[in-house]
Each structure stands twice: as C-alpha cells, then as structure tokens.
C-alpha cells in the first residue's frame, strides 16, 4: 500500500514538472544551415529565456538613420520584430518593454570607419590613440504610453582580431566593444564584424528589463 502511494506521488510530481524548453541553439547544425538560401538570424535574450530565428521582413532606406544606412526589420515566427541599422539594434516590438526607437548614428559610424587599428596613420587626424566619444539615445514607452528617453555617452574600443566558431564554420572577425555611460547604468555592447563589414555576431543591450540580446547571423 505504502509503495503504491509513493509511486503514485512520484507519478503525479513528474507529471506536474515543467517541461524544459528545447534549446534552439542545440538544434542548429552546419549541415542544416548550408541548405538554407534565405537570410537567417538567430537572437537570444537570456533575461526572458527567449531564443528565436528571424527572417527579413522589411527595409527602410532613408536619410534619417544617417549615411543612407537602411534599417532592416526582421521577424520571428511568433510575431516579434527586431530592427537593425547596419546590425545595430534600433527597435524591437512584441517583447513587452520594447526599445521603441534609437539614435545609433555614432555607433554605426564608429563601426564602419574602423578607427584605431585599421586605416593606418593619418586616418581621423587628431588623437588616433584616443577613441572619440559620441552620444547614443534610446526611447521606450512607460506604463501610460508616454515616451521616455535614455541617453548615453559612448566610445568604441579598438578592434581586436578574433576567430569565432559559427556552428562548425570558423570565421575571422574583428571584435569591438562599445562602452556607454549614463547616470543610471554602464553598458557594454560587443560587435564581431567581418572584413567586409558584415556583423556576424553581437551582444547588445536592449533596456533595463530586457537586458542584453545576442545575435548571430546564420545565413547571409
């Protein structure tokens, strides 16, 4: 009788146990990626235990993001969207405390002009040893639909050559860390760019509640 009850209890407990969400990253293999011909992006947000693959949804090329860099919007299967300007996150939708819009012209410029370590002597003129500081602005909505801004003063660190392993494929990239300061927090965004400027991997801060998001370009 006692063992019967014990077995019943264990059965009930095991049935009540939460099924663990399968790790998306674990299901991706190089062989499967090689069969995909459309662009594909992997994004992970640890604070929400969320992972998803995204496909392109739209592109808006205009002067508002500076240097005629287009903003590309990507979408997940469950209708969350992420918008990037040259790989730098500028907006999210469907995550709750979404990043509504962002001014990342300084970041994009710092990533594309290379700065210290590339371009050689004479590039940029004054103080090639010191990274220039530039502002960065984010906007969010509070609980009553009013826009709140968070502003940072950022500087981009030097490019460090690195090799990353993207599901079995080794890539030579250069890693740059952007440090941004505000009165409330200090954030560090990391970008791994290829020699042609493609952002292969990144770790970017979305907001105080969402925290950091890592992205990885799976298929170009």
């Amino acid at each position: 009788m006692r063992t019967g009850l014990l077995c019943l209890a264990l059965l009930v407990l095991s049935a009540c146990a939460q099924p663990v969400a399968p790790d998306l990253r674990g299901t991706i293999t190089r062989a499967r990626l090689d069969t995909v011909t459309t662009p594909l992006l992997l994004a992970e947000i640890p604070a929400q235990a969320a992972q998803a693959t995204l496909i392109p949804w739209g592109e808006n090329v205009g002067e508002n993001v500076g240097q005629n860099v287009g903003v590309v919007t990507w979408r997940t299967g469950d209708n969350v969207s992420l918008a990037f300007a040259a790989g730098v996150i500028v907006a999210t939708r469907g995550l709750g405390d979404d990043l509504m819009s962002a001014d990342v012209t300084g970041t994009v410029q710092a990533l594309t002009t290379g700065g210290v370590g590339t371009g050689g002597v004479g590039t940029g003129g004054v103080g090639t040893g010191a990274a220039a500081q530039y502002p960065r602005h984010h906007s969010y909505l509070d609980g009553e639909n009013q826009t709140i801004f968070r502003s940072f003063l950022c500087q981009m660190g030097a490019a460090v050559p690195e090799q990353i392993n993207s599901f079995g494929l080794l890539r030579d990239v250069s890693r740059r860390v952007e440090t941004c300061y505000s009165l409330e927090e200090t954030i560090e965004n990391t970008y791994w760019t290829g020699s042609d400027g493609t952002l292969w991997r990144s770790r970017q801060w979305l907001g105080p509640r969402l925290g950091y998001m890592t992205t990885e370009r799976l298929v170009l």
Partner: protein
C-alpha cells in the same frame, strides 16, 4: 496601527484580514501621491453595536476612509499624515488620527501618532485640541443610525490617545512590526476577545511584487492573518505589450522595385505587396491587410494623390495604435501616386475624428528617434461630422457570438458574496452605419443570487431595491434587446437614440445629445428618457411603473488623468437631484472612480446608507494580458443599492464611446502610434 508611509501613486490594493470573529476586506486606492482612500467591508461576529450593550450574532459594516500626507519625510523631519476613518458609515471604526513616521536607520522605521474616537480607547487623556475650544472636549455619539451621513462636526473631538510602533525590514521580503495600539475594540464581546496587553506583534512576507502575506499576534491573546494584493495600473505586467509586431513601412522607391526582386527577397512577395494597382484590387488588398491587424475597413477612396479611409478600431485600447497600423498598411497597398492619407475613426457607425498624414512622413519617421513627437506635430486631427459612405457590400452586416458572464452580488447580510455565472448569446445586426439592432440572451448555468430573499422596505417606487427579484426569477433572460441609432447632428455634436429593453430592469426610449470639441477639456450633454419597469423574469413583460427621466451633464477632463462629471436631473424614482463623479483614468485604459448622488429624497426615506454612492473600476484586458483587445472588466461597488438617485443603465452613453477617438486622447497616447 496607521503609519505615515503611503504606497506609490496610483496603486490599488485589496486587503483581506481575519482574526478572532472578524473578517475585514479593504480596497485602497492611492488617488494622488498624497491622498489615499479606502472602502472597507467588515464582517463582525459576536459584537455589541452599541459599546457595552447587548451582543448580537453578527454585524456587517461598510465604511470609507481617507488619509492625506501633510508633510514629506526630509532631513530630520518625519512624514506626517492625517486621517479620517469611517467618516461615512455606521461608526464602528470612526476615528481620526495624525501620525508621523521616520526612517531612523536604513531598515528601521519609527511611527508615533495621536488618535481620536475609536483610536483613543486605551490610555486616553483629555483632548489637547481643547485649547482651541470647549467643544473639542466632548465627543458626541452619532445621531444617525442609518449611516451614510457625513458628520464632520465630530472629528478630532473627545479624548485622545497615543499610539506608536517600530518596523524592521529584516530582509528584502520580510518585515517585523511591534506596535502599541490605542484601539480597545469596545464593540467586541469581552468574553470572546480578551485583550491582555495593548502591544501587537506582526510579521509580513512579500511573496511577489504584488502579493504580501502577514501574520499578527494581537493584544497578547489572539492570532490574526492578512493577505494583501496590490497592482499599480501605471506598471503593466507586460510592459508596453506583447501584441504581434506591426508591419514594416514600405517606401515608394521599394514598391517600384517590387517586381524585380531577386530570390533573396522572396519573402517580401509573400507579404502581398502589390505592384499592380487596379482600383478594385487596392480596396480588397487593403481590407485584407487591415483585417489581419484587427482593423475594419469601411471605405477607401483614392483621388488626386489623397487616399481617404474610414476604419473601425476593433482590437486596440489606444486608438493612436490603430491609426499607426493603418498608416503602415496603406504604405504597402496604395500606388506611389498617393501622397497623403486621411484616416477617419468610426465608432458605432459615427465618424469621430479624421487624421491627415503625409505618406513621406510615415516613411521617414518609422525609425526616427523622435518619431512620436515629430509624427504628432505633422499630423492634423479634426472633427469628422460627415457621414461614412461605406464600401458596397459591407452593409447590412451581422455579428453574433457566445461569451461567458459572471455577475457578483455583494453585501447582503445573509450572504455577503453571491454570484451567478453562465453563458451569453449576443447578436448585432447593422443595416446601415449607425443603426444597430442588438440583443443578449442570457442563460444562467450556476449561481446563488436567487437565494437573496430580503424584501424591500423602501417607501419609494422600487426601481432598484428589488434587484434581487430580477436575479432570482428565471434562468433564461433577455438582459438587453434594443434598436439604437448613433449619428452626428453637426460639428462636435453626437447623438444617440436607443429604444427597446434597455437594461435588465427597465425598457423604454433613451435619447442623448453630446457636445465635445476634440481639444476641449469640457463636454456638455443632455439625456431624456422614458423608462418602463420590466417584469422580474426579464423577458418581454412590463410592469405598471413608468417614469420620464433626464439629465443635463457636464464633463471636465481636469488633466493628469483626473476626470469629473456632474449630472443634474430626474432619476428613476421620480426624485430630482445631482450626481457627482470623480475618476482617475490611466492612459492604458484603467479607470478608478467614486460617485455620489444627492436628491430630494430625505435620508430617512432612502433608508440604510442615506444616499447612493459607490466605487467604479474599469480594468482593460490588454493591460493584464499584453495582447491587443478592447475588452474591459467593469465593476461598480455600491455599499447599498436602494431606490434614491437611481439612473437608467443604458448601453452606449456617448462620452465614453467617443472620447478615446478624439484629439485629446489621441495626442496623449501618440506614443503608441508606432506600435
């Protein structure tokens, strides 16, 4: 023990506590950063309503309280709060106090205060305020037994007593309290509740951000427990929402290239951007795309570079979001020759406002940091009094469905919490915009509201005091079956005529006219009704009682979310008077408010409670779930529901129908345009 600490502005909390023979349920709302109001329902067993008098089995007591923070804590100065407990009730808890609290160490708070009335039971001494006048020395007993009368001449009179305590925040979640109480519970049966000492000890534990549990050891003799659930409407659980992401804006240059996209952009084609623009196809593709966004397209006309659309917002609590989503769809489905979008918002067949946007602005501002402010300044919003010309084939239209229902019934001394639950079948038929035939067939599945058998003793026409008979008579009822016409008599004017079985207890004819300019904080309305009382079985029968009622109403949006309303006129029992209501409306759709009606019915004739008053709450489902829906849960809590000051409960009163679609509400919530 009261303290000078107050919850954050806007917080709504429900507290339920139990100890020796009494249960207290309290709803508390932080009306503004300094003012807090509560409604308490106490169930007391084995009490003597007159202290030291006879003990009765039970007494259920409703009371209102207010607290106001006079001084903030700063430097060496403590926070000081003044409070009135049970100033509008039967007097069980009637007391006033002034209390000061100060944090004396990072996790230690000290409180000390002076109480009058019920809070001067232990260690009372003669009133220090007697220096201001002799009348402060003696506290008179309440002269009314009905409750509901505001006897402010009695406040801060009589003996006073000291109380105080210390609170220690032991960990993030655990707090310990020791207090010296000046309340000696004069009404409790001294045999069931023995107070050994005026010192109380308690501990509370924060299970989550919203839930707190507490246990107390009171007066050296009894154990009590308490549960508090708090929400702050300004802090939604899902942030700005987790609804599906909006369609990206498509630039006209991208449209032109649509036909020559390479394989990599094959997915764009899958989103149905059309490069061919036959007139009939534009309307169909736009209607389909908008339907996918929860927006109904009523008409679309393209002429001379301007596209004029009329839409119905089906899913979005905030209308600005429906406008933004419509603009995004239009950039994808309209030919490049269209430069300007005119979007008219239609509610119940009435066009309310028209917004004019330049397509170029929509394209440029999608990802602009200041897209909200820039977009709002470049948008023109105007009144739209001209009737909608719907696309052919849309009308007549029929809509029907099933929905569950739950109706609570509170505060009957026989059983303070009753409820009925079941299924509603609703249907609506619209032959033309603004003309709506609708009804609800209700089937009760389970419930105990039919157990309420207290007969009404009201000398007035029994317009509301027999609500229990309406709840008991039949399992299948028709709460509402009406023909309604909504129309625009002119600029800034809105009109409504409703006829039929208007609400569960009354049928008849209801007419209303409202004037509200989109930017104005003031609105004026007038309503004239002819009401006939329905049979208790809520089917097609009518009783003999009929009455002409009507009101003139003034609405004032005070700003910062506070709204007041004053209605003056004649009520269902034939009495004349006025209703005053004060609401705090949050931009996300939450509303918390109080109302009170005073009429020419004398307090004694009205009966218990003296006059009609209550609290109303409206909670948007989109706030709780984060999904796009306009559904709300509406609650009205009246301590007593009697026949004086009773107003017809007709559906579709204009102010709440049109206000969210007018300029003020659109501009205040423009942050959601880009969602």
């Amino acid at each position: 023990m009261p303290s000078a600490w107050m919850p954050p502005d806007g917080e709504l909390a429900f507290t339920s506590s139990y100890f020796v023979n009494q249960a207290r349920n309290t709803l508390t709302f932080q009306i503004n950063p300094r003012l807090s109001g509560s409604f308490r329902y106490a169930q007391l067993y084995d009490v003597s309503p007159n202290a030291d008098g006879e003990v009765v089995d039970f007494r259920f007591d409703r009371s209102f309280s207010l607290q106001y923070r006079l001084l903030d804590e700063a430097g060496f100065r403590p926070a000081v709060v003044i409070g009135l407990n049970d100033f509008l009730g039967t007097g069980f808890y009637r007391s006033e106090f002034i209390v000061a609290s100060r944090q004396i160490a990072p996790d230690l708070r000290l409180t000390a205060g002076l109480g009058w009335g019920r809070l001067a039971g232990v260690g009372g001494f003669s009133n220090p305020l007697s220096v201001l006048g002799d009348r402060f020395g003696v506290r008179e007993a309440r002269s009314s037994s009905q409750g509901g009368e505001l006897e402010l001449s009695n406040i801060f009179t009589g003996d006073a007593a000291l109380f105080g305590g210390i609170e220690w925040q032991a960990t993030d979640r655990l707090r310990l309290v020791a207090e010296y109480s000046s309340d000696d519970y004069p009404n409790e049966d001294p045999y069931t509740f023995v107070q050994r000492s005026p010192v109380n000890l308690g501990l509370s534990y924060d299970v989550s951000d919203n839930l707190r549990l507490a246990a107390n050891y009171l007066y050296g003799s009894e154990l009590g427990v308490q549960l508090t659930y708090a929400v702050n409407p300004a802090d939604p659980p899902n942030g700005a929402g987790i609804e599906a992401a909006p369609l990206p804006v498509v630039r006209r240059t991208a449209l032109a290239a649509a036909q020559s996209w390479d394989q990599h952009r094959a997915d764009y084609r899958a989103d149905q951007i059309r490069a061919d623009y036959r007139a009939d196809q534009i309307s169909t593709s736009t209607a389909e795309a908008l339907a996918g966004q929860g927006i109904g397209l009523l008409s679309l006309q393209v002429a001379a570079g301007t596209a004029r659309t009329a839409i119905e917002n089906q899913d979005y609590t905030v209308f600005a979001q429906a406008v933004g989503r419509t603009a995004r769809v239009l950039t994808r489905t309209l030919p490049p020759s269209v430069d300007q979008f005119e979007i008219t918002l239609v509610e119940r067949g009435m066009p309310v406002s028209v917004l004019t946007l330049a397509r170029g602005d929509v394209e440029d501002l999608e990802h602009d940091l200041d897209g909200v402010w820039s977009g709002l300044t470049r948008t023109q919003i105007a009144d739209a009094p001209d009737p909608v010309q719907p696309a052919p084939g849309l009308y007549p239209r029929l809509d029907w469905g099933f929905a569950p229902y739950l109706i609570p019934s509170l505060f009957d001394p026989d059983n303070p919490l009753r409820a009925d639950a079941g299924i509603d079948l609703f249907a609506g038929f619209e032959p033309a915009p603004g003309l709506i035939f609708s009804g609800v067939l209700r089937q009760r599945v389970l419930g105990n509201r039919d157990e309420a058998d207290r007969a009404s003793t009201s000398p007035l026409p029994r317009v509301r005091s027999e609500s229990n008979l309406y709840g008991a008579a039949a399992d299948t009822t028709i709460p509402r079956l009406t023909a309604a016409w909504y129309f625009r008599p002119g600029g800034n004017l809105f009109g409504r005529v409703t006829a039929g079985y208007l609400e569960p207890m009354f049928g008849g004819l209801s007419t209303e006219l409202l004037w509200r300019r989109g930017t104005s904080p003031i609105a004026l309305g007038a309503e004239l009704n002819y009401a006939v009382q329905r049979d208790f079985d809520q089917l097609f029968g009518l009783q003999d009682y009929d009455v002409v009622t009507g009101h003139v109403s003034g609405y004032w949006d005070m700003g910062n979310g506070y709204h007041t309303q004053l209605d003056v006129g004649r009520y269902l029992a034939g009495d004349w008077g006025a209703t005053f209501a004060l609401d705090r409306a949050f931009e996300n759709g939450w509303r918390v408010g109080v109302f009170a009606t005073l009429t020419d019915v004398p307090f004694d004739t009205f009966g218990e409670g003296s006059f009609d008053k209550g609290i109303r709450l409206s909670i948007p489902l989109s706030w709780a779930s984060g999904q796009a829906t306009r559904d709300t849960t509406d609650l009205v809590i009246r301590p007593v529901w009697r026949d004086g000051g009773a107003r017809l409960d007709v559906d579709g009163r204009l102010y709440d129908v049109i206000r969210p679609a007018q300029e003020r509400a659109l501009a205040d919530n423009w942050g959601r345009f880009w969602r």
